[in-house]
């Protein structure tokens, strides 16, 4: 299941629709990297609201996405981590490092707009 990526001005928005297999996540990583490059996007928002589990692989891949996107001069924001998922992640000891997070899409966009205003 390929994750649809929407272009909204300078930003790309990837909304995950259903449970993702490992291959799907890796595909998302490659798609985002390619499109950020192609459109010279300033940032990519990945909406994980629907994901009910974020295990070590998912976290590794998300960090890899952020890394690849940063190499292309853009920022990544992860939005929509649910309370139960956040809880499991910290119990497992998984962190997103310095990848930005926001409550949801709306907050993610507000954060990015504020960032671009300040810069």
């Amino acid at each position: 299941m390929r994750v649809p990526i929407l272009k909204q001005g300078d930003y790309l928005i990837a909304s995950i629709q259903s449970a993702l297999s490992d291959e799907d996540l890796l595909q998302l990583r490659d798609d985002l990297a390619e499109q950020v490059g192609r459109y010279r996007s300033k940032a990519a928002i990945v909406d994980v609201t629907v994901l009910d589990v974020m295990d070590s692989f998912a976290v590794r891949t998300v960090r890899a996405i952020a890394h690849m996107i940063r190499l292309r001069g853009a920022e990544t924001v992860i939005v929509g981590i649910q309370p139960e998922v956040a809880f499991s992640m910290v119990q497992l000891g998984l962190t997103l490092g310095d990848v930005a997070t926001a409550l949801d899409l709306e907050e993610g966009l507000a954060y990015l707009n504020q960032q671009s205003r300040e810069s």
Partner: protein, 303 residues
């Protein structure tokens, strides 16, 4: 009936399983044939013993029917699964109505008696056969009584736990004092279970209130050791994953120093002395002070 005789009888049942099966079949047939009068007899005895007073006679009869049929099914199939499911279902319905454990145990034992007596009546001329039928009947009847009673008690315990949980949640409210700002004042001892519950509540609160800043005040926590500190760090991390900033107030610098010395990583915690200071910092983070300063400026210019 003394214990020696009892163990001898069950041993005989063990030695002749096929015979036991046949007796059970005969027993089940008898119970089915006399279903109507035995059920009525039982319902009558329930009312006489003043059990299930919280229910009407029609309700008692309906439940009596279900229990009776489940009873027969257990005798017939040897499996208590359907009975267990029914017992849980029944308990769920009658517990809120105030039915108590002794009533449930009482009615099941009454049914056992009613059925036993009907067996006495039927086989009174053949004492040997009566003995064998009872050999087959008693272990099953006891198992049934046990299943229903345990099912009821477990359901009761589950409900009590639920209520305790609700009380705990009420006693530690997550307060929304401003838009996007939550305050979680923690008072009292934090054991691992409570810490977990607080974290869950806070995280759900962040989602519901769309909080951007959370102030956790631990002034009221008597002892802050490494365990509590680690729970705190976990809560801070989880809140950040949801896009919220966390400020911890009430963590004195002495305690903080002690914790760092033990090896707790407090670097991620934004700690501020007291609650007032914490709220001010939160407002600053949310941009309130800036707004208010601008307004004050406008007032001056206008006036």
């Amino acid at each position: 009936m003394d214990h020696a005789a009892l163990s001898e009888r069950t041993k005989e049942a063990q030695d002749h399983p096929e015979a036991t099966l046949m007796l059970l079949r005969e027993l089940v047939a008898h119970l089915r044939q006399n279903r109507t009068q035995l059920r009525e007899e039982w319902a009558r005895r329930i009312t006489e013993a003043q059990l299930l007073t919280a229910m009407t006679r029609e309700e008692i009869f309906i439940e009596a029917t279900s229990v009776y049929d489940n009873y027969i099914e257990v005798l017939e199939t040897g499996s208590v699964e359907a009975l267990q499911a029914y017992a849980r279902n029944l308990s769920e319905r009658i517990i809120p109505r105030g039915v108590e454990t002794h009533e449930v145990v009482g009615i099941v034992l009454l049914l056992r008696d009613v059925l036993a007596r009907s067996l006495f009546a039927k086989y009174q001329t053949d004492f040997a056969k009566l003995n064998r039928i009872l050999d087959a009947y008693e272990p099953a009847a006891n198992r049934i009584a046990n299943t229903v009673a345990v099912g009821f008690v477990q359901e009761r315990e589950r409900i009590i736990r639920q209520q305790q949980e609700a009380i705990r949640e009420l006693s530690t409210p997550v307060l929304q004092v401003r838009e996007r700002l939550l305050i979680l004042p923690i008072i009292g001892v934090i054991d691992p279970q409570r810490a977990r519950q607080l974290t869950e509540q806070l995280l759900r609160g962040i989602r519901t209130n769309r909080a951007k800043v959370v102030v956790i005040d631990i002034t009221g926590v008597p002892s802050v050791d490494a365990t509590v500190a680690n729970h705190l760090v976990q809560t801070v991390d989880a809140s950040r994953l949801m896009g919220a900033n966390v400020i911890v107030t009430g963590l004195s610098s002495e305690i903080a120093q002690t914790l760092v010395t033990i090896g707790v990583d407090l670097s991620k915690i934004n700690a501020i002395g007291d609650l007032q200071g914490g709220i001010e910092e939160a407002e600053r983070l949310l941009g309130y002070k800036v707004l208010m300063a601008l307004e004050a400026q406008n007032q001056k210019n206008v006036g």
